[in-house]
């Protein structure tokens, strides 16, 4: 396989992993915020 293509695939997975981590953080943040808002 072409080295450039392999690198593109490999590093794109790195960014997908980072975005997933960020999405996870956002989901947890929203969950915490909505939990706090619901408190009397």
């Amino acid at each position: 396989m072409d080295r450039g293509l392999v690198t593109l695939i490999g590093m794109s997975i790195a960014y997908v992993a980072s975005l997933l981590g960020m999405a996870c953080a956002y989901w947890a943040w929203r969950k915490r915020r909505s939990g706090k808002d619901g408190q009397p």
Partner: protein, 663 residues
């Protein structure tokens, strides 16, 4: 292909039992808690993190990479390896601040430095990146082992990729970071022995140091012995501008966090140390031993070049040091050499398995998915993550074709776009989460533009790597500076809390003044601080006491409070330390090749190291003693925050209990 005798196999099996059995003894310690499984309980003396830094950065691919650059460029190629010298500054700057934060990981540090949603997004981003990056490193190191096994035994590459890594995973799964650190210590001893012995054998086989020099002269290649054989300021394959770029990346990088791919490994060792002093010495000594190793390799590879000067394929000459071991050692010792190769492989694999699992467990699972998880569950999640990383690394390893290209690209991508933001997040109070996150997100796109897309369409020429670095840095600044300045600064309560905890170096004037106003830090009237304030246009506090006695040029008696600030002694350490590192690398290499200049450089380097210790050790001792008494209370507080038990960031009050200021 190498012929193994029964004695060779005996040595290999004996080393295998030592390197796997030793770490397994620590199984019971690792299962006690998350802190034990990932930080060995934060109680390690400096020599254990030091040996671990060296062992982890001595991977199966490392001799290939060092061989490749020294064979191609002579001793000037050693400067490629000088990026390890960031530890010479980092030990006294970024390590000190990171240790004070007590964050498990660089991702966790983001929520200490920044606040709100931006900090959480950064933490998630870095955690995802590091889980992947460790899998990627495991893949390329595993593939290097596959190549070595092919060279030695003719096995298919996948065998060398899968079997040694799987053996490593056994003790990493069972004993966690305790196993990693004990294994690294044992493996480090074996590795340094092999590096020294095989390199000396390589030099002797080439006719000895004098003969090597004579043959290089007769070949018209004596420039290979000159580490400063520049081809001009800007032209040729080794311009001075390239060298200066490498120096700037390494030395200034020590002021930041994450400026090198190695930082993430060192960060774990910094936090596993029992005090700030142990953390500083741990990564300093680890970096120094790494450069000693490079010096031995370089001497051997110069000898290899003299014996086989006409190799043109990178894949062929990058195996030079391994060939010296397998082809020059007598039967019986080849098994010892292979045992050492296993040692350097195990140490790197185990470290990255545990590190990747740490980011998943601490920063993703515990922080976002299950904050209330028990210690027992966290240890098991750590083990599961270790296993998943192992399997993922096999996939990545099989994708890779040439080790060196991947390594250089990964390092470049890591450094170029986020190098400056990694420093700014440490030294500039106004830099915020938006700016840092923007720099990370833009990094991949900009790298592709500069390295491939724009040259392909003829928009810009294909630039040498050092110009790519500066261009990427400048383009990155066009993204992260507006992102920082057009968004709000971090909340002042959060910044004050961070300042009091970490006592950062750099431009922190507004935050320091606020901390002073709240009575959370004492006035620092040391001359360097005064000069710094004057330069920044800050007024002196009316409460500042006038110095009653004349300050000695080098102060060697410290109170913990005074030692917590940045003083002249720190700047002396920051200046002398990189010179010592450069002296180790160049002086020792020349000494091994029996050049007289090597002797003088090595002697001066030894003197510089003693002076460095004399200047900085009293400060590190003072600050460490104070901090150790408060660490347990502070760790409990940190754990509550991590589990979301403290909503938001409480405002520090003037009468609040004092925070730890040392490390």
């Amino acid at each position: 292909m190498t012929q193994f005798t029964a004695l060779d196999w005996l040595w290999t099996i004996a080393y295998l039992l030592l390197m796997v059995g030793g770490p397994l003894f620590f199984y019971k310690l690792a299962r006690r808690s998350e802190s034990d499984f990932f930080l060995a309980g934060r109680g390690l003396p400096w020599w254990l993190p030091a040996s671990s830094v060296f062992s982890t950065h001595t991977a199966t691919d490392t001799p290939m990479w060092v061989t490749g650059v020294v064979y191609a460029h002579g001793l000037r190629g050693l400067w490629y390896t000088f990026f390890a010298a960031w530890t010479s500054v980092g030990a006294f700057v970024s390590a000190r601040m990171f240790r004070r934060s007590l964050a498990y990981t660089q991702a966790e540090w983001q929520v200490v430095r920044f606040g709100g949603l931006g900090a959480e997004l950064l933490r998630g981003w870095l955690a995802g990146w590091q889980v992947f990056m460790n899998m990627f490193i495991l893949g390329w190191v595993g593939m290097a082992m596959g190549k070595v096994c092919t060279l030695a035994f003719g096995w298919p590459e996948w065998v060398g990729l899968v079997i040694p890594s799987t053996i490593t995973a056994v003790y990493t799964l069972a004993a966690g970071f305790w196993g990693v650190i004990i294994g690294d210590f044992l493996q480090g001893i074996v590795a340094i022995w092999a590096v020294v012995f095989v390199s000396i054998v390589g030099v002797v086989a080439a006719g000895g140091a004098t003969e090597i020099t004579a043959r290089l002269v007769s070949m018209g290649q004596e420039w290979r012995l000159d580490p400063f054989a520049f081809t001009g300021w800007w032209s040729g394959e080794f311009p001075a501008a390239w060298w200066l770029t490498m120096l700037v990346i390494a030395v200034l990088g020590g002021f930041g966090m994450g400026t090198s791919i190695d930082w993430y490994v060192e960060a774990q060792r910094i936090q596993s140390s029992r005090s700030l002093r142990d953390a500083c010495y741990g990564i300093w000594a680890g970096g120094a031993i790494t450069l000693v190793r490079n010096a031995f390799w370089a001497a051997a590879i110069i000898g290899f070049f003299v014996m086989l000067p006409n190799l043109t394929s990178v894949a062929e000459y990058e195996l030079g040091w391994f060939r010296q071991g397998f082809e020059l050692l007598p039967a019986g010792l080849v098994g010892v050499f292979f045992g050492a190769i296993l040692a350097i492989h195990f140490s790197t694999i185990s470290s990255h398995l545990n590190l990747g699992a740490l980011y998943f467990t601490r920063d993703l699972y515990q922080r976002y998915l299950n904050p209330g998880a028990s210690e027992r569950r966290l240890v098991w999640v750590g083990r599961l993550a270790t296993f998943v990383l192992l399997v993922g690394s096999f996939f990545y390893g099989l994708m890779m074709e040439e080790i060196t290209q991947w390594l250089i690209f990964a390092l470049w991508l890591m450094m170029a776009g986020v190098w400056l933001p990694n420093i700014l997040q440490v030294v500039w109070w106004r830099f915020n989460a938006s700016g840092y996150l923007a720099s990370w997100m833009a990094n991949l796109g900009l790298s592709w533009l500069v390295v491939w897309i724009l040259p392909s369409f003829g928009v810009i020429p294909s630039l040498p790597d050092y110009l790519q670095f500066w261009l990427l840095m400048a383009l990155g600044a066009l993204v992260f500076l507006p992102a920082t300045l057009l968004t709000r600064a971090e909340d002042m309560d959060h910044l004050v809390r961070y300042y009091v905890m970490v006592r950062p170096i750099g431009w922190w004037g507004p935050v320091r003044r606020e901390a002073l106003r709240r009575g959370l830090v004492g006035e620092d009237s040391t001359p360097i601080a005064t000069a710094w304030r004057d330069a920044a246009g800050e007024p002196a506090s009316p409460r500042a006491p006038a110095p009653s006695t004349r300050r000695p040029l080098i102060r060697r008696t410290w109170t913990p409070e005074a030692a917590g600030g940045w003083t002249r002694e720190d700047w002396i350490a920051v200046f002398v330390s990189p010179l010592v590192f450069a002296g180790i690398l160049i002086g020792l290499t020349k000494l091994l090749l029996l050049q007289m200049s090597g002797l003088w450089i090595t002697l001066a380097t030894a003197g510089g190291a003693v002076f460095l210790y004399w200047v900085i050790d009293p400060k590190l001792r003072a600050v460490s003693v104070e901090y150790e008494t408060r660490q347990a209370v502070y760790l409990a507080d940190l754990e509550k925050q991590h589990r979301w038990e403290q909503a938001g960031i409480p405002s520090p009050q003037p009468k609040a209990a004092p925070r730890p200021r040392g490390g």
